[in-house]
Assembly symmetry: C2
Homo-oligomer: 268 residues x 2
Amino acid sequence: MTISASSPVGIFDSGIGGLTVVKAIQSLLPSERIIYFGDTARVPYGSKSQVTIRKYAQDDTAILMKYQPKMIIVACNTVSSLALDVVQQVGKGVPVLGVLEAGAELAVKHSRNNRIGVIGTRATIASNAYSLAISAIDPDAEVFSSPCPLFVPLAEEGYIDHPASGMIAREYLEGLLVHGVDTLVLGCTHYPILRNMIEEIVGPDIAIIDSAEAVALRAKEVLVENNLLNDAGSVFPHLLVSDLPQKFKTLCELFLGRDIPDVELVDV
Amino acid sequence: MTISASSPVGIFDSGIGGLTVVKAIQSLLPSERIIYFGDTARVPYGSKSQVTIRKYAQDDTAILMKYQPKMIIVACNTVSSLALDVVQQVGKGVPVLGVLEAGAELAVKHSRNNRIGVIGTRATIASNAYSLAISAIDPDAEVFSSPCPLFVPLAEEGYIDHPASGMIAREYLEGLLVHGVDTLVLGCTHYPILRNMIEEIVGPDIAIIDSAEAVALRAKEVLVENNLLNDAGSVFPHLLVSDLPQKFKTLCELFLGRDIPDVELVDV
């Protein structure tokens, strides 16, 4: 397999949450060809076991590898936490970036008081992966985390500024605020959809780290380092999904901020 | 394959919501052996496409058929709406009952003004299957329906009497109340968990039809008709799942009202 600057950047997620990563990459690296796979037939991963998540990560990577990508971005925090090594194995030779590592790095850079909050799915938080990644970069940093399991369904249903979402979010975030964090990592690619609401609750003194933006920054660094930046001009991302739920069109618009392009259905 | 009174009753669902059916069967038919399969690796079905749902229904039925059941109960409203024929095909010769048909029948029996409300997942409601089933029994009945996509995550997170759930539920149910329904079908096996809250919102004049209870009543009738009632004495249900999520234990208690027994993991 030969990798060149014109090879695509492969991105996958458990569903369509990873489109926030697509959007961030498009905004930072508009000339890159993107191939995206969303495992919409088996979404969500966040509430499933590690064994199942690792099996799914293997399938997802294999699908992207058919397109000979120059880089694989794991847009799913759950897979980043529990199965990044699986992606590296299947994607032999191709640089693999996880949203989690990128988010952890950016959080450490931003924090002044070394008190970092992390929110994510149950599986991401239970894996303790953010704490480990942050401690590996800065052993003095203290990490406080809270699972927010209802944020994904609320985001997908468009409950973006609904009072019920605010009520639930306040309960989720309360505990973190008590610990005086000055930085909050959105450790799930769905959460940027709820960013305004979260910002309103935590107030202006807490820096929000969007792991989608963080991984886009890191992707640019890695492509520059390896002389693999593309300058072929903008193309619409190639989207693959394992199922086409009714709400896909609506959600695509919510995530990408524009109409849905052609989507290809693949079997898992 | 020989079916006898001592053969088990097979029940399946997309996840663990179908445990409300297990509970209803145990309460009405305490001597029946139950084999239950919950497809927890691929849950939820309600937001997926018909093609995917039919494929999953085939797998689920095949798993139960290995145990030579005397009856198969489709505890999943989504599968009942979109893939009951698939279950009948794979379960050749074994009587198949769907929660949907049973719920529709009981609703028609209860309604005095022929105005029936139905709530369920997006896929169940979009399939129009309840309206069709109810019209087939009573062509004069009018059906008003509302998808309640956040009820499953809210139930699974234990937001049973949380004010945010109440707020969301009121919005979902408002439209139905306007139409003056006198009967409301809980067209998803998760919804009985939220029954108290729903009852409070709709008031005492609207009869709630729990499709889990409805299918248990129908199962008893069919077993009696076929001389297949078991009287061997109570046994704990045999539970199979395709994944063991962290929250399974908690949820099992919520659904069955008791501690979790041994659970067997099967591959899908």
